[in-house]
Amino acid sequence: MNGWILAATVGLGGGGAAALWGVTTGSPGRRVIAQNLTTSAVCPALLLLSQGYGRPAYVDLALLMALLGPVGTLVFARLLADDLADERPSAWGLTWAAAGLAAAVVIALCVAGGPGRAMVKLLVIGALLIGGNVIASRALAGGFREVRGG
């Protein structure tokens, strides 16, 4: 059995279920954080699946997820700014944990994949994912304070 796909399944099951539970219950701040962490749960799973299926072409999916996931969170952070104004949701512990998970997955794949153009692409995706995750958390924690939702 392919270990990569097993790891992706476990990551998906755990991360996906936690994100779904987080986004359906709790305060608006907690829901937006759950939406932000969905990107950090799904993108490493896509990378693992790409390695597990032996298809380097699937890495483009993870690249697009790493690029557009944080943009989706910025949309919610900006347009829900007045709802989140009083709450200033910030879960920096979760953010750094998700960033650590993403870094671990990218390093493991780089080691497995060996040096070359594919490894540079993986590092670019990892950088985009972790940078986007941190910036989205920063935006949620009060990045759009003076924006009157406009």
Partner: protein, 86 residues
């Protein structure tokens, strides 16, 4: 074992769809639709359809939430000015 990942993805999609329908507030529904988009992209990858997965990621992660949230903001702002103006 690749069936396990298909089953997990299918169950996640079913859960996200139920959550999206049960959630009556449009702003919060947009959040759940964004998560549904991401999980659908994973299901398409697992069903070996990367093109459809890319399409779902491009549309579902940023475009649809932005459209819905702008619509919610316009309707909510109209409600506020209407009460204010009356």
């Amino acid at each position: 074992m690749s069936d396990a990942v298909i089953t997990v993805s299918l169950l996640l999609v079913a859960g996200c769809a139920t959550a999206a329908v049960v959630q009556r507030d449009p702003a919060r529904q947009a959040l759940v639709l964004s998560v549904l988009g991401a999980v659908l992209a994973v299901l398409f990858t697992v069903l070996q359809a990367p093109d459809a997965g890319l399409s779902q990621l491009a549309v579902g992660s940023a475009l649809t939430p932005l459209l819905i949230m702008l619509c919610v903001r316009k309707v909510r702002r109209r409600g506020r000015t209407k009460d204010g103006a009356r």
